[in-house]
């Protein structure tokens, strides 16, 4: 029988883990970017996707950069309503890409690849 105080502590700790380990939402993207989790996902994208598709995604990344400047600098502008709408539109239009078996919005994947560029993370 687990001791009650220990049980509550473990339960609370578990909740914390879930919060940290939760997938990206628009609100938490900046933190994810800063923690380099995007960069790791970007590296995985490079391993998993065929080069032709990567070339298209990289070009979309360049367009995004031209719009927002550097990803870091533009992030504050990107994160917010526009990005939420963009992601939602990606999902609703079926513009999704699987990375590690998980379906991400295409815009997310573009950001992962940008974050994985040298000097970004």
């Amino acid at each position: 029988m687990i001791e009650r105080r220990l049980f509550l502590k473990l339960a609370a700790s578990s909740l914390g883990t879930l919060a940290v380990g939760a997938p990206a939402s628009a609100r938490s993207w900046e933190a994810h970017f800063a923690s380099a989790s995007w960069a790791r996902l970007g590296a995985r994208v490079r391993l998993e996707l065929p080069s032709a598709e990567l070339a298209v995604l990289d070009e979309e990344g360049n367009l995004l950069l031209r719009r927002f400047g550097s990803v870091r600098a533009g992030l504050a502008g990107v994160v917010g309503e526009e990005l939420e709408l963009r992601l939602a539109d990606d999902f609703r239009s079926g513009r999704v890409t699987r990375v590690g078996g998980v379906s991400f919005a295409r815009t997310e994947v573009v950001l992962f690849l940008l974050a994985a560029r040298p000097g970004q993370a």
Binding site: T17, S25, F91
Partner: protein, 525 residues
């Protein structure tokens, strides 16, 4: 035993029973019909094949082989005794949606020969008789009434999603509920342990003259009535019509070959995972809602179903906090499944400690002091109305049961519409949940092979004697009377042309109330 009950194996009954209306089968349909008719007319006979509890010899009459996709044991998924299959009903109730009645030919869904507006008062009465709210249609109000916030529902944030709620009926063992009141009404006699084996038509096939019945003790009894109603369950109704082929050589009501075909169930498969974000609405967590005595699912709005040509699809989110091997270790420790000195105990403890966060999170779902913990992921349970399929059917075998009657086998089949709706239903749902920021999905490709290897039913047997406007498309008309047979009616979910989203029992009761009105009108005419 109440006065109105007669054991057909005894000497109390002769070789013939006469009645104004003879109802065969004391399940949800037969009991409801008997209760309603006996309030209005005299001379009603209710004939039940079984007794008042499960009896092996009687139940064995339901054995049959499976010729198609794996299905449940046919002698276990339906019950042959007073109360019928309500004796293992879970009590989930929901009214059909308007879209279920309208017919969508591109999916093979026929139009019902009745309108939802005509049926609605009967469904509300059915709900009342089951002790649940007749207000099915405002999910927000319903959720609020349980102390939950309707803001969590996806309906207001999404143009395509709709939350669908089942209510849980309190009074679900209809055999026990109706036994005493039915026994004390002077207008009704209940004969038990009496099996219908053959429906005997007049020589021109236009009327039922009698139904030949038998007991397992060898007695043969003929039941003659002005009106005969078969309420014997979807497989058995079809079997009786097909084996009664002495006048119509294809069976009764089977001129167009529909009897026994279009067998449907509500289907489900488990596939894919959904990894929740912190904003995932707990109202869609199956464990959370069940803790609130609620069965709540998410599907699509009618307009979206029409636009995308989807069958009724909905999804349940089953929380998973740790891997199955850890679950086994938790069970071993919890139930103390060890001998003294068994070192496997240490292995199980180590296994649990390796994912103590997950184990603790699941344990926390049982308490109210802390916020409800999100799981590691949700296992997705995709549920679907089955598309009507003529190849999914009852097949009469060459084998005979203990009464010498041909045994029914089941050839359960799904078709391309089922697979397509599972596939696209999953895709649209997880994409919409992702778009709403509720998390991300780990997708399994839904292929015909995956569906066929995982698909299961729900003991909801539907469609083998379906309603239709004309004999070319079905077996009974909108009044549930067999086309071209003046005095033979059928009750129960075998008459439903489509399966819809909802469990059938409350709908069966509603349609039986309606059938009672039709029969009274028929007798008066």
């Amino acid at each position: 035993m109440a006065a109105g009950y007669i054991d057909a194996r005894g000497s109390e009954v002769g070789e013939e029973i006469e009645a104004s209306v003879a109802i065969f089968g004391a399940g949800a349909a037969g009991l409801t019909l008997a209760r309603e008719l006996s309030r209005k007319i005299g001379g009603v006979a209710l004939i039940e094949a079984g007794g008042f509890d499960l009896e092996g010899e009687t139940q064995s009459l339901y054995f049959g082989n499976q010729l198609g996709l794996p299905y449940y044991n046919l002698a276990a998924c339906r019950l042959r005794y007073f109360g019928g299959t309500t004796n293992h009903w879970s009590g989930f109730c929901r009214a059909n949606d308007a879209i279920d009645y309208e017919g969508r030919p591109v999916l093979g869904l026929p139009k019902w020969p009745v309108t939802p507006q005509e049926v609605e008062p009967y469904i509300r009465s059915a709900a009342e008789s089951l002790g649940i709210s007749g207000d099915f249609f405002d999910v927000g109000l319903f959720v609020e009434s349980l102390g939950l916030s309707s803001d969590e529902l996806a309906d207001g944030r999404s143009e395509v999603l709709e939350t669908k709620v089942f209510q849980v009926a309190r009074d679900i063992r209809l055999g026990k509920i109706y036994r005493e009141p039915l026994g004390s009404t002077g207008n009704l006699t209940v004969y038990h342990h009496l099996n219908a084996v053959h429906v005997r038509l007049a020589a021109d096939g236009s009327r039922v003259e009698a139904v030949d019945c038998a007991t397992l003790t060898g007695r043969k009894i003929r039941v003659k009535a002005k009106i005969t109603v078969l309420c014997c369950h979807a497989i058995e109704n079809a079997r009786l019509l097909l084996v009664s082929n002495d006048v119509m050589n294809v069976g009764i009501g089977n001129e167009s070959g529909c009897v026994g075909r279009y067998f449907m169930d509500h289907t489900h498969i488990f596939a894919s995972r959904f990894i929740p974000s912190p904003t995932f609405p707990l109202i869609y967590d199956k464990r959370f809602t069940e803790r609130n005595n609620l069965n709540l699912n998410v599907g699509f709005k009618d307009d979206f179903l029409r636009k995308e040509n989807l069958l009724q699809y909905y999804c349940r989110f089953n929380p998973v906090y740790f891997d199955e091997d850890i679950g086994e270790s938790v069970r071993n420790i919890r139930y103390g499944l060890f001998e003294p000195g068994d070192v496997r105990f240490l292995k199980d403890v180590a296994n649990v400690l390796s994912d103590i966060h997950g184990v603790a999170a699941q344990a926390a779902t049982y308490q109210d002091m802390l916020p409800y913990p999100l799981p590691r992921y949700y296992k997705l349970e995709h549920r679907l109305e089955q598309a009507p399929n003529p190849h999914s059917r009852i097949v009469i075998s060459d084998r005979k049961d203990a009464l010498g009657s041909a045994i029914a086998d089941l050839d359960w089949q799904i078709n391309e519409h089922d697979i397509d709706s599972f596939r696209r239903g999953q895709e649209y749902l997880v994409n919409e949940f992702s778009a709403l920021g509720y998390g991300r999905a780990e997708i399994e490709e839904i292929t015909p092979e995956l569906v066929k290897s995982r698909v299961s039913g729900h003991y909801h047997h539907i469609g083998t004697t379906r309603m239709s406007d004309t004999p070319a498309d079905g077996v009974v008309n909108g009044d549930c009377r067999v086309h071209n047979v003046a005095n033979l009616y059928i009750g129960g979910s075998s008459t439903f042309p489509t399966a819809g989203y909802s469990g059938p029992t409350m709908m069966i009761i509603g349609f039986s109330l309606r059938l009672a009105d039709r029969i009274v009108a028929d007798l008066q005419a």
